[in-house]
Symmetry: C2
Subunit: 257 residues, 2 copies
């Protein structure tokens, strides 16, 4: 029972912060956040804890580095290939993050904790920049850049979090058991809610069962994009119909600083 488990052979190449972060991501992917311990890490890297602490200050920094690495990889997929419309670019960036949370179910919760720990870190600007460039390209007036980009980022983070939740739970149901079974379970659970307290949720339970996560996510993106486009001055479209929305007077002030 004391034989080598996993790949704990003998280490040939030297230790490095990079290799440690890489191993941390692998551990997180395979056994979740509780699976990332210094014991498991030392075993996998065939060292002692002191060696790891030489390259990394503590576990928090290690988690942050793992999160940052995964986010950076997700945003770097397309160097500068596709020329598509700004809308398509937004969808591509968003989908990249969405798929990253699918591959790494621990990512979403970790993003939330990391942002609350260190919001001036590198991961928030990374996402913000990728989305913001497209907002600018959409022709949104500068006074609304921050609002529009924030809204996009918030939607993406929220939706990615929810998706990670579903992916993780679907896996927890057992290997091989697919998303279909999981969605079926949620749908059934929602159908079983109290009719007095949850009429709407019950009414919608059926749509849960056979929706496609990705389609759903992109539909939400389009919804936000529609709202963002409405921030732009009307080009040649219908100038009417706008004042029907409630008191838009002081809500979106023009940039005047």
């Amino acid at each position: 029972m004391a034989t080598r488990t996993g790949r704990s052979q003998r280490r040939t190449d030297a230790l490095s912060r990079e290799r440690i972060v890489e191993a941390a991501v692998e551990l997180l992917d395979t056994s979740g956040e509780s699976g990332l311990t210094f014991r498991a890490l030392t075993e996998r890297l065939a060292t002692g804890p002191g060696a790891i602490y030489w390259h990394v200050a503590n576990k928090t920094e290690l988690l942050d580095a793992a999160t940052d690495a995964v986010v950076a990889a997700a945003l770097a997929v397309r160097p500068s290939e596709s020329p598509g419309s700004p809308q398509d670019e937004v969808r591509a960036v968003a989908l990249g993050l969405f798929e990253a949370t699918e591959e790494h179910p621990w990512l979403a919760a970790q993003l939330a904790t990391q942002l609350s720990r260190n919001p001036s870190g590198t991961v928030a600007p990374r996402i913000f920049e990728s989305l913001g460039r497209q907002v600018r390209a959409l022709g949104v007036p500068e006074g609304h850049w921050f609002t529009a980009t924030s809204a996009l980022m918030h939607y993406v983070l929220g939706a990615a979090g929810q998706n990670a939740a579903n992916t993780g739970s679907a896996r927890a149901l057992g290997p091989g058991t697919g998303r279909a079974e999981f969605l079926d379970a949620v749908s059934t659970a929602w159908e079983g809610l109290d009719p007095g307290d949850y009429p709407f949720t019950r009414a919608v339970a059926g749509q849960v069962r056979d929706h496609d996560d990705r389609e759903q996510f992109l539909a939400g993106i389009d919804l936000v994009l529609t709202g963002i486009t409405a921030l732009s001055p009307p080009r040649e479209a219908s100038p009417a119909e706008k004042p029907s929305r409630r008191g838009g007077a002081g809500r979106y002030p023009p940039p005047d600083e």
Copy 2:
């Protein structure tokens, strides 16, 4: 040094799950997630760990209960007073959650983790139901209920998470130090980013400094609401301008199950 610390006098009333959850929330509020330990809990409640385990299965369940209690309280603020428009109701619900994450900075990250652990739990349906009823009231066609409500919920969760991040960090800067100092720090940090890598973020750094979180949050809500309203069949508004968006053919399929 062995004198009673805090309120560890003698317990008069009996222990209960409710009292334990309440104490847990207080500990989380005052000292963050790492402050919630069974030792601190037993001291505050003047018992032993075994007593707590009689009422609560484990720490995970305790965290879930604390999260659920706080979310339920946030959504229950207005029993049925305000008659306002659906839009105003959405803003009220969203603001309730937003303020809850301000009061309880641990909430957002905890929500993410809990949803990923147990998405068929009670907290997701609670939020979903509150928002969904207003979506229905907005006249959104039934086939889009799930998409629209999900988008709202994702935005709210993402934005609340970001806000909790900011609130928490602002507090960490020191008691008394306000949001202004914190925003100034973030703004300065963004202005110091690499001009080649982060042109957009740098350009927007100024808007970070003097934005109002709540205004920003509500502006995002309105943006999503605009997108949602566009899902409704045009009442008497301009029927043109819609086919300009890309392949909307199969994107929002009508309900046909």
